[in-house]
Amino acid sequence: MDLKTKYLGLELKNPIVVGACPLSTDVDSISKLADAGAAAVVLPSLFEEEIMAAARAAMEMESAGAGFAEASSYLPNPDGYHIGPGQYLEHLEAAKKAVEIPIIGSLNGTSVGGWTSYSKKMEDVGADALELNTYLLPFDADETGANVEQRTIDIVKAVKDAVSIPVSVKLSPFFSSLPNLAKQLEAAGADGLVIFNRFYQPDVDIESLEVVPNLRLSTADELRLRLRWLAVLSAQSGLSLSATGGAHSAVDVIKAVMCGAHSVQLVSALLIHGPDHIGRTLDAMEFWLKDHEYTNLEQMQGSLSLAKVENPKAFARANYMKMLDSWEM
């Protein structure tokens, strides 16, 4: 069965991409994922904020020890103790050497300079594409929605000016007009969108009165939100689309592809079941496609987009309207 797809201009042997997660933090594990059938791997995000904090901490540590008669420092100064993206870039480079499949770098910047320089560095060490993780939670009441969107657009423009590899933008669902933003991002040069970022949803502790960081794995229910927006965006955008969040099984992948995804990122399912889950999912997809007499994956790609689905209103309305619709003549 031909499961080939094209994502961000990259020829993928199937739509399953390993999303940014701990599984791709070492090269052995990436090799296992590739062997299991993954079509591409997105590396975990490089966080500029962490690098800058580490840089400041390193300077603080250095001066903490410089002013005393008996100690000129308190920690050793080994060669190779490098604060910066070096290790990430080495990892990216090693991953590229270890596997044939595309490796996609992921970046969370805080400054325009950071976004562009780190993107360029990732390109230089061989990244096949970049995923910009624009993790922006607008907390400031003085910042308008348009400003928030413009910041993302500006980042894309700057990165696209800096690199020639394809660039996707990982978005949150919290924009007032996703199609319009998608259009602007496309105009700014983005090659694709990854929908959606799953934000950490912190809990609160009612005993200690503290916020408690909490990361839960996705459930298949979360896929629905993605399906809707894949269907909407794929109908009117030329951007390459990737679904992330909630795809666990072959059926989930098929749904996403039908709604318009060019690739589907698996994370939680792999953390639960291990890399071999990819092979099993691909087998199940092949079986389903054969069973339903598809000749290749491309046939179903976008078949349930807003433009092609029989009842597009179903994507647009809330559930209770469905009942009313059924009375519509």
Partner: protein
């Protein structure tokens, strides 16, 4: 000869850079001021840098200097070229081995940054006491006087030892040379290769022990042979000086720098000559040049080869015209006819006369003097005084110079204003805080000047003894001629104040010469700064016609992403306004230096610093000096008027940085000082301090428990005592039943708090409607200083809580008066809360022996000491013997106390007729296990004293004299892991095995914290530390388990940040146990690599990950048939790696060598889990098997 490459390095690096390249093995142990030499060697080997034969020297850290010497001896006997680096007590520990090495005619060089030996006090600073303590060992002693010479003599010593087979000590002055950054010509590898004769190296190796050509050394000999055999060595010493001459000549031919055994400088027909060795020789050289140019007939002999002492060569060096000689010794040998070099010279002249090689028409008059002990200044004025003394008809002998001796009147008068600094030399003085990076930036600046201009350059850095809020003064000189001024700058052309808080504390402008430039980091702009200067500063600016510049560097740092780091900004200002280089060029050089310094660490740090440089100039302003002096406020007095006379007259001068002015009469002759003097040194170093919101406080006293500086305290007291309280004094009803009806206050000492925030972090009380508001919240100190000072004074005036009524738990213990307060320990120190707790629980009857290390420095470093006294005048009595002997030293307290107690009991029984049997019985059989019992015994002792008052029988007088020993004393040995796990372990083990009632507190930071974080056997597996740069691959020694194995030792492992109740319990149990006890206390430390604000969280993680299990092993339980071990922490609930990821000491390796880090972390996890399993199993063993078998 090609122009050599110049480098800007300090004396330690200059020495180590040669030693590392011409040795196979370095066996080392850290000791100030030599530690850096070992660290450099270790760092270079870790980087794979090879010696001149292409192999990487093996750098091995040992458990003590004695161990290092042993390893060196063995390695030499094995045929490897081997060295070590040491100083002071470290050199003393090597003496026994040194005799062996010399007796076996073994070629080696030890590099020593000469330092004072602890006598009436410890001193880390430089003099020749240590060198003179080994002059009898048979080693050659070769002296360097400067950084360049340290570099050169390191090679010459190696050449000489290989030629002569006499082992050599190459020494130079600790700090003045070891830590001075100077521009020197570098000896390249090829040159070193040419200097070291391979044939001699082979000969050394051929003398090694080898089973392929077996032989035996180290025999024992008897009266029939030992003497003759000892004399058989003589020929080697006779020719040794000539070997050194040859080595110096070969060195001169190869390198172009020429030395002699005794180098003469001055008029060839000099009449007055000074003989001296070490850095002071440069100061004399400078003066000789100055005065000879004016026509004076003076000269100087620099002693380079001190042992073997060559009479012939000294005679060759001295001008025939010499009439008077002053020999200067940087050491003191009490009871001797004269100091060692002085005696040598006198004797040399006599020998020369006998040998007929005396060149003088008439024997010169020789006088001797002491100078420069413990890095005491030896400046141009003092040198002049020495020559002036020689000019007298009858020069004074056995004089001192550099101090005022108003007791034995030995000191020479010095003209303090005498100054020969030429105008061509730039002189800058920079005041900074220890942790603000000022020293680092100034080292950088002087390196830029040295590297990028043709100037000669010198940087020297003065530190105070505190960790938190330490003041540093950087002295930078540069100019077109070689700089020989081996002393501090007194008249600077540039003075920089990097912290505004110094304005009210330090007389910085006393360093400024007329017309100098004054740069200030100020929160006030150019238009307002004038009115904020204290009156003294305004007066100095006007009187000296200073140019003033200001910048708000703190704001620039914040705005440019540098956080609190202002050093790069102040450095940029210095270059911008000093005009050393054209401004643009200077900026470019700074940036290039930044790139050089930080490039390896990443572009991000480089860019942050670039941003700071770029953001500086627009914010740098020249201040227009008004015509009028406007300030009315003057600097506050150094200490309160209420302070005792000694504090006002002596301590205050030390605090003000003017201790040099104190005369001999100001000091106790035996090193005895009053305790409790930190209370007078109000340091005001906190920017923010905690503010108590009494309305939500739950009165747990945890804030007081965790405070490293006893700067937040709790009291309960009668409500009536609030009469007259200051208006802002806070008080609430006490909530618990134990002091029902009383009032409760948490009070901050605003001027003693360091702002570490541990109290805020631990505070569990939150405002339910606004949880970020706790019962303690940080607020700016400045506006709170005055009212809180008044409140704190009132608080201190409230009576202390009755010790007999306090329950000894976390809360109760904090109602006890801390008798360890306001130490100089780091902000957020993880050790001092334990020491403070000890002082609260037992301080009024404690004798503490303290191993050298952080705890002895913050515990006993002048000017002020933190051990305090209660209202009855009782408190801890403290002493630091050495690093290595502390357990034994402390056990000595126990022996003395027990023996004196026994004597008192004996006398008591003999005086029962006068005292009454009841009182005698009650005293002898008193229950002293509780505070009430102790109090009752003290009352009985008072009754005894009253009854014996007026009784003049010798027994009665003696009993009154010893009666205090009838009250139970608490004996403590306190120290760090370097002491307990490494250098002092043998003694510690013996004391634990002795069964005597000694309590041991191990403040375990897992590294040698005081000397800068070198690995100890307490360093955890997978952590990096100096000498374990690749990550420690052996598990931390389980000291607790080893102590438990005895069965009779009380053992506890505690971490106050994880479980404070267990900590308090362990302390009370350990102390109450009438045998040996050891408490191993987790102490978070700056050397772990995180902001100490988070120290308590890290302690929790250490326990939660199983890396630091909490337990108490009480032999008393075993006696009851119970399991003696109680495990007080639960099974690990987080992975070790999760804990490790939060600390730089572990994370560093993940960055440097991820594969090895992964392996070591996995090993660490196995080790941690395995150990916890062992403890769990031990704690669950069924004990009392004898009873069981009886039952069966």
């Amino acid at each position: 000869m090609a122009k050599p490459r110049t480098v800007m390095i300090d004396g330690n690096e200059a020495t180590a850079s040669v030693a590392h390249r011409i040795n196979d093995v370095c066996a080392i142990y850290p000791i100030t001021p030599s530690s850096n030499m070992g660290e450099f060697a270790d760092e270079w080997s870790a980087r794979g840098q090879t010696n001149i034969w292409g192999t990487v020297p093996d750098v091995v850290e040992m458990q003590s200097e004695g161990g290092a010497a042993g390893a060196v001896h063995g390695s030499l006997q094995g045929g490897a070229l081997t060295t070590t680096f040491t100083a002071s007590q470290g050199l003393l520990l090597m003496i026994p081995t040194m005799y062996k090495v010399a007796g076996e005619l073994t070629s080696t060089v030890f590099h020593v940054s000469a330092r004072s030996i602890a006598t009436h006090a410890l001193s880390i600073f430089g003099d020749h006491s240590d060198i003179n303590a080994v002059r009898q060992t048979g080693w050659g002693l070769l002296c360097s006087n400067s950084v360049q010479e340290a570099h050169d003599m390191a090679a010459i010593a190696q050449m000489a030892t290989l030629d002569s087979r006499i082992p050599f000590i190459h020494f130079f002055d600790g700090f003045r040379t070891s830590h001075e950054v100077s521009k020197i010509d570098y000896i390249e590898d090829d040159d070193l290769r040419a200097l070291i004769d391979d044939e001699k190296v082979r000969a050394h190796r051929e003398r090694a022990l080898s089973p392929d050509r077996p032989m035996i050394r180290g025999t024992s000999q008897n009266p029939d042979t030992f003497f003759q055999a000892r004399e058989a060595i003589n020929g080697f010493y006779e020719v040794c000086p000539q070997h050194v001459v040859n080595a110096m000549e070969r060195f001169g031919e190869q390198i172009g720098r020429h030395y002699k055994l005794f180098d003469y400088v001055g008029d060839p027909e000099a009449e007055r000559v000074v003989v001296i060795m070490g850095s002071g020789a440069d100061a004399v050289h400078e003066m000789v040049d100055h005065l000879v140019a004016k026509g004076e007939k003076i000269g100087l002999v620099k002693v380079r080869l001190y042992r073997p002492f060559s009479v012939k060569h000294l005679m060759e060096a001295l001008p025939k015209t010499t009439k008077k000689i002053a020999v200067l010794d940087r050491t003191k040998e009490p009871g001797a006819i004269a100091e060692p070099l002085h005696m040598d010279v006198v004797h040399a002249l006599a020998e020369a006369r006998n040998l007929g090689i005396n060149p003088f028409a008439a024997d010169p008059v020789v006088v001797g003097g002491r100078y420069g002990l413990s890095s005491k200044e030896f400046n141009d004025g003092m040198v002049k005084a020495v020559f002036d003394n020689l000019a007298a008809d009858q020069p004074r002998n056995h004089f001192t110079v550099g101090i005022v001796d108003d007791v034995t009147h030995l000191s020479l008068d010095v003209d303090d204003d005498f100054d020969i600094a030429p105008d061509s030399v730039f002189r800058g003085v920079f005041f900074g805080l220890g942790a603000d990076g000022t020293v680092g930036a100034n080292k950088n600046s002087i390196k830029i000047i040295g590297d990028e201009t043709d100037n000669f350059a010198q940087g020297y850095f003065v530190y105070d003894s505190k960790k938190a809020g330490a003041v540093t003064i950087s002295h930078l000189r540069f100019g077109p001629d070689p700089i020989r001024s081996s002393y501090l700058i007194r008249k600077a052309k540039f003075v920089a104040c990097h912290q505004w808080i110094f304005m009210e504390k330090l007389d910085m402008l006393s360093f400024a010469q007329p017309g100098a430039t004054f740069l200030v980091n100020s929160p006030f702009g150019p238009d307002e700064i004038w009115d904020h200067f204290p009156r003294e500063v305004q007066e100095d600016i006007k009187a000296k016609d200073l140019k003033v510049y200001c910048i708000d560097a703190t704001k620039v740092a914040q705005d440019t992403g540098m956080g609190r780091r202002t050093n790069t900004i102040m450095q940029t200002c210095f270059f911008a306004i000093s005009g050393i280089l054209p401004r643009d060029e200077a900026i470019a050089k700074i940036k290039s230096a930044i790139k050089k310094t930080y490039g390896a660490k990443g572009d991000e740090i480089v860019q942050l610093n670039y941003n700071a440089v770029d953001g500086t100039l627009a914010n740098l302003h020249e201040v227009t000096i008004p015509d009028e002096i406007t300030a009315t406020a003057t600097r506050p007095p150094i200490v309160s008027d209420a302070a005792p006379d000694l504090v006002k007259n002596v301590t205050a001068l030390m605090i003000a940085g003017k201790g040099d002015l104190l005369p001999v009469s100001a000091f106790p002759p035996d090193g005895t000082w009053p305790t409790g003097t930190t209370q007078w040194e109000k340091r005001n170093i906190a920017i923010d301090i905690p503010v108590w919101d009494e309305s939500i406080c739950i009165q747990c006293n945890k804030c007081s428990m965790v405070c490293p500086h006893a700067a937040i305290r709790a009291k309960v007291y009668d409500p009536s005592l609030l009469d007259g309280a200051p208006v802002t004094f806070k008080s609430v009803d006490y909530k618990a039943k134990d002091f029902a009806g009383q009032k409760f206050t948490i009070q901050v000492a605003p001027e003693d708090c360091t702002g570490c925030q541990l109290c805020v972090r631990v505070c569990p009380a939150k405002d339910k409607a606004n949880p970020k508001h706790k019962s303690l919240n940080m607020a700016p100190q400045m506006p709170l200083r005055e009212p809180e000072r008044e409140n704190y004074e009132f608080f201190l005036g409230l009576p202390e809580v009755d010790r007999t009524a306090v329950k000894l738990d976390v809360k109760g213990a904090q109602f006890l008066q801390p008798l360890f307060e306001y130490s100089g320990a780091c902000e957020g120190c993880g050790e001092t809360p334990y020491v403070k707790l000890l002082s609260q629980l037992f301080g009024d009857r404690a004798l503490i022996g303290n191993a050298t290390g952080c705890s002895s420095i913050y515990g006993g470093n002048l000017p002020t000491t933190p051990y305090a006294q209660n209202a009855d005048g009782r408190g801890p009595a403290w002493n630091n013997s050495l690093f290595e002997d502390n357990a034994e030293f402390s056990m000595g307290f126990r022996l003395a106390v027990d023996q004196t107690n026994e004597r008192a009991v004996h006398l008591l029984k003999g005086l029962s007729a006068e005292l009454g049997d009841t009182l005698v019985d009650e005293i002898i059989n008193a229950d002293q296990t509780t505070e009430a019992g102790i109090a009752a015994q003290r009352e009985r002792v008072q009754v005894l004293r009253d009854k014996l008052a007026g009784n003049s029988s010798p027994d009665a007088v003696n009993l009154v004299h010893m009666a205090d020993y009838l009250v139970r004393k608490s004996i403590w040995a306190v120290g760090g892991d370097g002491w307990a796990y490494d250098i002092g372990y043998g003694g510690l083990d013996h004391v634990l095995a002795s069964g005597r009632d000694v309590n041991v507190l191990v403040l375990d930071t897992g590294v040698y914290s005081n000397t800068g974080g070198q690995a100890s056997k307490a360093t955890p597996l997978a952590a990096t530390a100096k000498f374990a740069m690749a990550g420690k691959d052996i598990a931390k020694k389980d000291l607790g388990l080893m102590a438990m194995a005895y069965g009779h030792v009380y053992v506890a492992q505690v971490a106050f940040g994880a479980k404070d109740s267990q900590t308090v319990r362990a302390f009370t149990e350990a102390e109450s146990y009438r045998g040996p006890s050891i408490i191993i206390a987790y102490s978070h430390c700056i050397a772990h690599g995180y902001n100490l604000i988070d120290g308590l969280d890290h302690q929790k993680m250490a326990v939660d990950s199983g890396a630091w299990p909490l337990y108490r092993f009480d032999p008393r339980r075993a006696a009851l048939g119970e399991n003696p071990l109680k495990l007080d922490s639960k099974a690990p609930k987080m992975a070790f790696e999760q804990f490790a990821n939060t600390e730089t000491r572990f994370r560093m390796l993940q960055k440097v060598d991820p594969e090895r880090a992964k392996k070591l972390l996995a090993d660490a996890q196995r080790s941690v889990s395995g150990r916890f399993d062992i403890y769990q199993q031990l704690a669950s063993l069924s004990c009392g098997s004898e009873n069981d078998s009886d039952a069966n």
